[in-house]
């Protein structure tokens, strides 16, 4: 079976088998709705205006004149999550901030994408061992593209965003628009950050710890 390339398909479309009026020639494009729609979608991704740490500075530099994010249709940064398509998590995610990030993520309309920019957002980075640091934003919200670097250079951010564009291009409209709104419960700040989905596990863990302590106390006492 020979692989049909895009070019073959295109050439096939040139000869429909009936006459085309001259005024229409060269003015009609036949494509799938999917491709047309995704072409529009991927070239008008609006990021959320939301900087966390060092990487945000490089994000701003990417939006500025030398690197010019506008070439990719992404210069429209929106401070409101309701108007944003992609959340660029630019920097260290702390335990204190993660409930708000999850809330912002929940407020974004579908289809939504998350880019973890830099080592911290991807996996904790140099601050991973810190007591107030979430080791990777993907512990709480799904991530589409990870960009390594500390901080990633503007070129690296652009590359990551181009990867996101490729991902969008491959998506099918059916999957995108029929996907269900998934609400992620906001973590709660207790003695440490608590994911409500983990509550049974937390109780099991702390009770076991208490028993161990009492057991030790009984032995030494």
């Amino acid at each position: 079976m020979t692989q049909r390339t895009g070019r073959d398909r295109y050439e096939g479309l040139q000869v429909p088998g009936y006459d085309i009026p001259d005024e229409v020639k060269g003015n009609v494009i036949v494509t799938t709705l999917n491709r047309l729609y995704n072409w529009g979608r991927r070239n008008s991704i609006w990021p959320m205006m939301f900087g966390l740490a060092c990487c945000a500075i490089e994000m701003i530099a990417t939006a500025a004149s030398r690197y010019d994010l506008a070439r990719f249709g992404m210069e429209v940064m929106r401070p409101s999550p309701r108007q944003a398509d992609v959340m660029i998590v630019s920097g260290t995610v702390t335990k204190r901030m993660i409930p708000l990030i999850v809330r912002l993520y929940n407020q974004m309309p579908l289809p939504k994408y998350v880019v973890a920019m830099g080592a911290c957002a991807s996996g904790g980075g140099p601050f991973k061992e810190g007591y107030n640091v979430v080791s990777g934003v993907d512990k709480y919200i799904p991530v589409d593209v990870y960009i390594p670097g500390c901080p990633p250079t503007p070129e690296a951010l652009l590359f990551g965003l181009m990867k996101l564009q490729q991902k969008i291009e491959k998506q099918s409209l059916k999957d995108v628009y029929l996907q269900k709104e998934e609400y992620i419960p906001e973590p709660i700040l207790g003695p440490d950050i608590m994911d409500p989905r983990d509550f049974p596990l937390i109780r099991e863990y702390t009770m076991k710890k208490l028993q161990e302590m009492q057991g030790q106390g009984a032995v030494s006492g």
Binding site: G190, M194, I202
Partner: protein
Amino acid sequence: MTTLVTVPDIETRFAGVITPDTRKGYQGYIVEAEHVRAFAKALRDDYGYDYLASLTGVDYLPEGKMEVVYHVYKSTGGPGLVFKVQVPRENPVVPSIVDIYPGANFQEREAWDLLGIRFEGHPNLRRILLWEGFWGHPLRKDWREPYFEEEGKPFSSRWPHGKHFHHEDKNPFGKNVDYPPGFDPYTWEPDTADEILYQAVLQRSEIRDDLRTERVVVNLGPQHPSTHGVFRMIVTLDGETIIGLEPVMGYLHRNHEKIGERNTWIMNIPYTDRLDYITAMANNFGYVLAVEQLMGVKPPERAEYIRVIMAELTRIVNHLWAIGFLLNDLGAFFTPALYAIEERELILDVFEATTGSRMMNNYFRFGGVARDIPEDAWDKLVQLVTDRLPRKVDELDRYLTNSELIQSRTIGVGVLTAEEAIAYSTSGPVLRASGVPYDIRRADPYSIYDRFDFDVAVRYHGDVYDRYLIRIDEMRQSLRILQQAVKQIEQEAPRGAPILAGKPQYQVRVPPGESYGRVEAPKGELGFYVVSTGKPNPWRYHVRAPSFVNLTALEAMCRGHKIADVVTILGSIDIVLGEVDR
């Protein structure tokens, strides 16, 4: 270089109450806890030490003591004085000095938050970087983080055997969390809700008697385009006038100090880059100065010049950024910032060619710098400082300074008087715009700043406009220093001269003792208080961050202004959250 002094007169006056600190490598006085207020008051009123630079705590676990360390200086310049209060570890209570030095406010709260030292008489002793209800005080030496591995690096799992593992696999939750024994999330009641905070702010706000309107609490941030990161403010309004403001921070608390105490000395250099991530080189400078004081090494001539050149370029980068984004906050959305970022990129090119990184340079070493500036980058640098940057600073000045819109939004807004500026321990452009000509490069010279001819920029109105103007002035002065430095370095220490004292080392030997290294970072006084016990890791690594302390004055600046001015005033302080929250 900072040499802390002792005052003989004060020893006789407070005989029996204070004793000189005789531990090896330590300086200053140890004051009895119950007399610290009288001592501080005498220092401020009778001896002229009116500027509290740094207040922090140290946990001396083996001795069973908590120590609070105060660094005070004279706002007229000269060396400072350090005094300490020692209290037992089990119940550390120290009288608060907030009413004597209002600049101690946030710093005492931080010491309570991270070390659990209770300051008696503090008006608002709540946690500041962590949240109310957090389990434990993390900077205590016996407190362990969930991903705890060993007391100090290098961890034996990583080096020399390289059998590293993922902490996620060992934690039952697969996350960076731990909970106290017996804790039940189902019956747990939150200690603090935002409503409690809002009520507290509302109660503290003054009531104006002439016209009573309903007071409204407005929350700004932490995700807000004008807060320069993840900063949050709770503002009480009477109509549109601000009657109370409470900054809430800690949304970027990355545990620099805890990680810094696990790291070896040299490992902390790249971490300092990430404090104030716009001015990485200046942060390196402060830290290596503090450690060099302990080690007693002196960098060679060429390294000193390169350090000054890099620090001053960093200052220009910072002020360009600050001006661009102040204008952003004023509503000139992004156009001035684009002009500023364009110049910043050119300076970053020089940084990248020299250090390999645009922002996180990791360039300074104890006793020198990591590598020399390459020749082509040097040519670019000389061209920048002699030709392009002076023109561009003039251009910014020409476009912005006389703009009627900017003047009407900024003149007379956010006024901080000279007395208030000193009392709140503000530093850098905020202090100098209020008419206090205090610049550490002059007041307490370090490195080779005494060789250059430059003026300390000062403005006298203390409003947002002056804080904008002073940044233009300072860029011009920095360019003056740079122009002299690029000339002098060719004569004094041409290319090929050593740039590092001694051999490059992975593990430096730091003799026991304490040291406070401070530099005039672009945002103000950046101080590093380090304590060494002679081990490979610092016992205490504290960062006195200028943005954090400058925020103490925010409420005083904002009160009485309109809600729209808060954004401008915050922009004029020029905070970076990496440094505020650390």
